[in-house]
């Protein structure tokens, strides 16, 4: 578990690039602006007393209520979160980094929101980012090989989006 002074230290170092800090959560997290992500991640990995060598997981979480009746009462504005779970093998601590994105780039439905890739920092991020792209629909800019990984190449849509609808048919197989 990361110490609270780590969160303060990061906030002090990166200022506006870190848009939010939550030390009270079960797993304390920092919220990073998309344009500061690479810089923050590089720092987290290379700084000797932090050395987050292990990128455990990248997950996409879609905050959107498709039901208009419930949406009026929803506790959150529609957005998409990309969550990075980091940990250190040598220092035995962990940290959660979040990037908040709009659900669609420029509010144009169908245009995927963009976030810079971290696959040059942790090569293991390559597949995780492909998975988030595939299932949650996030465009990782400058990713070396951004293709679908779990769904077939010609699949339409991103299944873990809340408003996703199963296709009626796929190559003659009935979907719904």
């Amino acid at each position: 578990m990361a110490a609270p002074n780590l969160l303060d230290r990061l906030k002090k170092k990166f200022g506006d690039k870190i848009s939010g800090v939550n030390a009270q959560a079960i797993d304390p997290w920092i919220e990073v602006m998309p344009d500061g992500l690479v810089e923050v991640c590089k720092y987290l990995k290379t700084e000797p007393d932090l050395s987050f060598e292990l990128l455990n997981c990248i997950s996409g979480v879609d905050y959107f209520e498709p039901d208009p009746k419930k949406a009026a009462k929803a506790a959150f504005p529609p957005h998409l979160e990309v969550v990075y779970h980091l940990s250190s093998v040598t220092k035995k601590h962990s940290l959660v980094v979040k990037v908040i994105l709009p659900r669609w780039k420029n509010d144009q439905e169908g245009e995927l929101p963009e976030v810079p890739t971290v696959s040059h920092i942790w090569p293991g991020a390559n597949w995780h980012e492909r998975e988030v792209f595939d299932l949650s629909g996030v465009n990782f800019v400058e990713h070396p090989d951004l293709r679908r990984i779990l769904c077939p190449e010609d699949w339409v849509g991103h299944p873990l989006r809340r408003d996703y609808e199963m296709p009626l048919e796929y190559h003659g197989i009935r979907g719904r």
């Binding site: 797993d27 292990l54 979480v61 940990s87 679908r148 990984i149």
Partner: protein, 401 residues
């Protein structure tokens, strides 16, 4: 007259060959399920490996958004179907972390017994199937003989042999039946001497050593970069085991247990005096070491189960009733990783305050372990590809979810 060459691969470069794409799988018997590898080869030498996955994708995470945590337990079984109990445990602990639910002592020891027995069963399949990959059939039968008895024990405890759904948020669905501990101890007493047979069959077998030693070298740096975990990481010499170094919610399960992390230090594994020495051809980080770490973890698990049986028998109080099926989850999110037989399996649960998680995410250990294949297979021979992929001990159900 034939001249002897130091490296047989040199011959390959003398012969004029064309590049060829070879499809290995998804129905290839040595790809451990439905893994498809596209190899770019020049003669026998592989220059590029491209794994294609997703043939077993069952949308487990999407299903998790429509079920309560206890209802999702059967779906976690079907991720790593060779270690269903460990998957149940990972999700159960993650939900308990969100609920801030404290386990009774007896449940803690019960979970150690079950999780470590599962580790033995899983490593036995890993070992047997690895023998199959390398063309020897007998170890597979030997391994399944003992695994069968573990499955019998599990069947007695929960009624299922493969997809258990036994460990669940709150504890377990039932207490261990009467007389189970004696049967388990009897099994361990019978099993421990048998481990020597496996070492005779594989570990010290000259052909096996030739096929695995100094093949598929994974450097510690690369293992970390790709997020490799479990025996793959420890086989590269990194001293990291979540049972000791993980989060408190997980390590407190093993609180007070005596065990050493299986990793090579100064050319020796902990307590390795009674086991075959490391062959001189083997380099730390190759297929042989990954295999050996698993073999030693079996011995370690036997020891842990013995300790747990003692503690469980001495513990009084409840065994951990499961939480209510539709128990409300507090608003918030929790991420927890556990040390499964194949590596660190992480679960991530996000809740909006209702009883159904907003998002259920599974971080698969094999997924990360497999993503390093293209680095390991660069420049190896086609025949070594099954040896390398087999040494990662992957289960496709977990990779594709």
């Amino acid at each position: 007259m034939a001249t002897a060459l130091d490296d047989p691969r040199i011959v390959e470069f003398d012969v004029r060959t064309d590049e060829m794409l070879v499809n290995m799988g998804p129905q290839h018997p040595s790809t451990h399920g439905v893994l498809r590898l596209v190899l770019r080869t020049d003669g026998e030498v592989v220059s590029q490996t491209e794994p294609h996955i997703g043939y077993l994708h069952r949308c487990a995470e999407k299903i998790g958004e429509n079920l309560t945590p206890r209802q999702w337990i059967p779906y976690t079984d079907r991720m790593d179907y060779l270690a269903g109990m460990s998957m149940n445990l990972g999700w159960a602990l993650c939900v308990e972390k969100l609920l801030n639910h404290q386990l009774p002592d007896k449940a803690r020891h019960l979970r150690v017994i079950i999780a470590e027995m599962q580790r033995i069963a899983s490593h036995l399949v890993g070992m047997g199937a690895y023998g199959l990959d390398l063309g020897t059939f007998s170890p597979f039968l030997y391994a399944f003989r003992e695994r069968e008895r573990i499955l019998d024990l599990f069947e007695e405890a929960c009624g299922a042999r493969l997809t258990y759904s036994y460990l669940t948020p709150g504890g377990a669905t039932a207490d261990l039946p009467r007389g189970w501990l004696q049967k388990c101890s009897a099994f361990l007493d019978q099993f421990e001497p048998v481990i020597q047979e496996y070492h005779a069959l594989l570990t010290t077998n000259a052909i096996f050593v030739k096929r695995t030693a100094n093949i598929g070298y994974l450097s510690p740096q690369m293992a970390l970069d790709y997020g490799c975990t479990g025996p793959v990481l420890r086989g590269s010499g990194i001293d990291y085991d979540l049972r000791r170094d993980g989060e408190e919610r997980y390590t407190e399960m093993y609180d007070g247990y005596a065990f050493e992390v299986i990793v090579e230090k100064n050319g020796h594994y902990p307590k390795d005096h009674s086991y075959p020495p490391v062959p001189k051809e083997a380099v730390l980080g190759d297929c042989w070491h990954r295999f050996y770490v698993r073999m030693l973890e079996v011995v370690q698990a036997v020891d842990l189960v013995r300790q747990a049986i003692e503690r469980y028998a001495a513990a009084t109080g409840p065994w951990g009733e499961p939480i209510k099926l539709t128990a409300k989850l507090p608003k918030g999110e929790a991420y927890l990783e556990t040390e499964c037989p194949r590596g660190q399996m992480g679960f991530y649960v996000v809740s909006d305050g209702s009883s159904i998680p907003w998002r259920a995410r599974a971080r698969s250990s094999c997924f990360c372990n497999l993503s390093v294949t293209h680095e390991l297979c660069r420049g190896c021979l086609i025949a070594d590809v099954p040896a390398i992929v087999g040494s990662l001990d992957i289960v496709m159900g977990e990779i594709d979810r």
